[in-house]
Amino acid sequence: MTVKSTARARKKAAPAVPDNLPAGSGAQPELIQLLTPEGERVEHPDYPLTTTPEELRDLYRDLVLVRRFDAEATSLQRQGELGLWASLLGQEAAQVGSGRAMRPGDYAFPTYREHGVAWCRDVDPLNLLGMFRGVNHGGWDPNEKNFHLYTIVIGAQALHATGYAMGITKDGTDDAVIAYFGDGASSQGDVSEAFTFASVYNAPVVFFCQNNQWAISEPTTNQTKIPLYRRASGFGFPGVRVDGNDVLACLAVTRWALDHARSGNGPVLVEAFTYRMGAHTTSDDPTRYRLAEETEAWRAKDPISRLKAHLDREGLADEAFFASVEAKSEELGLRVREGVRSMPDPDPTLIFDHVYAEPHTLVDEERAEYIAYAASFEGGENL
C-alpha cells in the first residue's frame, strides 16, 4: 500500500460525524468495514486493500490459532496451571489485523491481553504464559521481536511507545510504533500525556485502542462522552474508528496509520470497535454487570466465522485447507498444554537476579543471607 499524502491524512482529522451525537440514540459514527458480518467484501475509498487468496487464508489461520492458544490458556487456568488469564476471545481480528500490518522494524507496546499481536510478532506463545503462571514477570527479550513486555499498569506503555517513537524520529529511520491499550485506559493521565507528546513531537506512533466495550465492570460510557477515536482531533492528529471484528479493515486501517506515522505526519489514533466475549480475566464474573443478550448480539459479528464465510462464499479455501488449520490448531494446543505443565518453578534466588544491571552490595548481601538461611533447612543444601 502506498503512503498517503499529508493532505489526505489531515482529511481524516475531521471525520464525517456530527459533533453532538444524541446520547443513547444508538447512532453509530463511521465504522470502517471491509468485510460484513456475513462475509461479504466491501470497499472503502480511503482504505483500499488488495489481498491474494493465500493472504486471506493466512489471516484465517492466524485467527484460528490465536483463538486456540487463548482457549488453551483459559482451560489451563481452570486446571490450576496458570494463576490468572486475560482472554482475548472476540478481539482476534483487531490484534491479528493490526499485528500483520506491522513491518519487521516496527515496534509494539502491548497491555496484558495482546496475545494475538505477540503471535504476529512471532513471540513463542509459551513465553506469554510465564507471567500468568507466576514464574516470571515477562519472560522474553523485547528487542528480539520488537514486542515489548506486557504492561499491567493501565496506560503506562502509551508513553513508552511515544518515547520510543521519538527516538525513531531522532534516528531518522522509517520505522513506526504501535501502542495498544483499552477503552478504560483512555481515561488515564498517561494516555493523554502520550497523546500530547506524540502530537507535539510528531512521533511516529499509532495509538491502537481496542474498545472492547468494557473496563472490567465499567462500560465505555463511564470513560467518555464522545466516541473515543474523536479524542485525537483535540490533540491535533487523526482518529479513525474501525470495525474491530473485521480483520481486513483492521489490517488496512492500521497499515495506513503506520505509513502515515512513518512518513513524518505524526501519530494516529485507531479505535478498534470490538467486544470482549469472555470475562475480563479468569477472576472476573461478567454476569454481575452485563447482559447475556449483549454478548449474544456480538457473537453474530464473530471475526473468525466472518472470514470463513468469505472464504466459503468466494471459494478461496477447500476442505483440505480447513483440515490443515484444524490439525495445526491441535498441534498448538498440545504444545502449549505440555509446555506449561512442564514449566519448572524458578529457583527462589531469582528474586535477586537482575534487580540491577551492575553489582549492588545490598542485593548481594541479602542473596547470601537467603542462601545460607535456605541451606539451614533439611534438603535445602542444594540451592
Binding site: I152, A185, S187, G189
Partner: protein, 324 residues
C-alpha cells in the same frame, strides 16, 4: 452487628454504617458499583445508596484522588478505593503533594477527610503490581495518617474511625486476610492510633501490623511449645506510631523483632528499630532485629513464599535475638 464476620464483610458493614450515618460520605473507585469492587468490599452498596453516593469512576487513579480532594474541599467525606496496591502510584502525586499538605498550607482552614482504601501486600499468588507493600512511602509523608488492621473487629472500627477523621487516612487492607473471620464487637475499643497487645508474653516482643500479625501469632504459639514466651504487638497505626506501647513492651521483654512484608531497607522496621534503640537502649538484651522483604521487586508468585516472612523466618530471628 456483633458476630463472626470476615474482614471483607466487616469492611463492607463499616462502609454501610458510614454511608448511613453521614450523608456527606461518598464512595469512589473503579468497579465499586455493580461489581461491588474486585474484592466485593463495596458489595450491594450502590444498590442501596445510589450511583451518586457510590460512584464508579473513570479508570484514572490521579483523577480519583484529585477529585476526592475537591469534593472534600466542598464538604464531602470521600472514601476512595484503589483497586490494588500497585495502582496507587499514578495517584501518588495527588496523595503526597496535595492531599497530605493542603491542611498545613491552608493554616488549618481546610480539612481533607479523605480515606484512601488500598488492598495491599502479597500472599495471594497474583501477577505483578498486585502484591506490593508501600506503607513506608506514605508513612514517610507528613500529613497522612496510615493505618492497617489485622482482624475483623479492627477492620470494621478502624475504617469507621478513619472515615470520621478530619485528616486524610491511608487505609491499608491486608488482602490475603480478607476472608479470615473474627468477632466484631459493638464498639471501638481503641483509638485509631493505638497499638494493641495481640498476645502477652515475657521473653521477646514481636512487632507487626496487617497481614504479618497472624504470622507472628502463629510464631508465638510455636515458640510457646519450645518454652519461649513471645509478646505480639499489633501496631495498627503506622503513622503515628504508638511508641509508648512499644516502649513499655520492649522494656518488659528486653528483645524486639519487627516483622513486615515490605523490604527491610528503609522500611517501617528501620524507623521502629532506631526509635526503640534510642528509648530502650539499657533494657535491650539484643539489637532490635527486622524480618521483611528483600531489596528486590516483589517476585513472581511461584517464589513469593521465599520473599514473604513466614513463621520460620520469624522464629529464626527470635533465635538470633536470643543468641546475643
Amino acid at each position: 452487628m456483633a458476630g463472626q464476620l470476615s474482614i471483607a464483610k466487616a469492611l463492607n458493614e463499616a462502609l454501610r454504617k458510614s454511608l448511613e450515618s453521614d450523608p456527606k460520605t461518598l464512595l469512589m473507585g473503579e468497579d465499586i458499583g455493580k461489581l461491588g469492587g474486585v474484592f466485593r468490599i463495596t458489595d450491594g452498596l450502590q444498590k442501596d445508596f445510589g450511583e451518586s453516593r457510590v460512584i464508579d469512576t473513570p479508570l484514572a487513579e490521579s483523577g480519583i484522588v484529585g477529585t476526592a480532594i475537591g469534593l472534600a474541599l466542598r464538604g464531602y467525606r470521600p472514601v476512595v478505593e484503589i483497586q490494588f496496591d500497585g495502582f496507587v502510584y499514578p495517584a501518588f502525586d495527588q496523595i503526597v503533594s496535595q492531599l497530605a499538605k493542603m491542611h498545613a498550607r491552608a493554616l488549618g482552614h481546610v480539612k481533607l477527610p479523605v480515606t484512601v482504601r488500598i488492598p495491599y501486600a502479597g500472599g495471594i499468588g497474583a501477577v505483578e503490581h498486585h502484591s506490593e507493600s508501600h506503607e513506608a512511602y506514605f508513612a514517610h509523608t507528613a500529613g497522612l495518617r496510615v493505618v492497617s488492621p489485622s482482624n475483623a473487629h479492627d477492620a470494621h472500627w478502624m475504617l469507621r474511625q478513619a472515615i470520621a477523621s478530619d485528616d486524610p487516612v491511608i487505609f491499608l487492607e491486608p488482602k490475603r486476610r480478607y476472608w479470615d473471620k473474627g468477632e466484631v464487637g459493638d464498639a471501638a475499643d481503641l483509638p485509631l492510633h493505638d497499638a494493641r497487645i495481640a498476645r502477652g508474653g515475657t521473653d521477646a516482643t514481636l512487632i507487626a501490623y496487617g497481614p504479618m500479625v497472624k504470622v507472628c501469632l502463629d510464631a508465638a504459639a510455636a515458640a510457646q511449645e519450645d518454652g519461649r514466651s513471645l509478646e505480639v504487638v499489633d501496631l495498627r497505626s503506622l503513622s503515628p506510631v504508638d511508641f509508648a506501647a512499644l516502649e513499655a513492651s520492649v522494656k518488659r521483654t528486653g528483645r524486639a523483632i519487627v516483622v513486615h512484608e515490605a523490604p527491610v531497607f528503609l522500611g517501617m522496621g528501620a524507623e521502629l528499630a532506631a526509635r526503640l534503640t534510642e528509648r530502650c537502649f539499657y533494657h535491650l538484651e539484643a539489637p532490635v532485629l527486622r524480618v521483611g522483604g528483600f531489596h528486590a521487586p516483589y517476585p513472581p508468585s511461584r517464589v513469593e513464599e521465599a520473599f514473604l516472612p513466614d513463621l520460620d523466618r520469624v522464629l529464626d530471628a527470635v533465635d538470633r535475638s536470643f543468641a546475643y
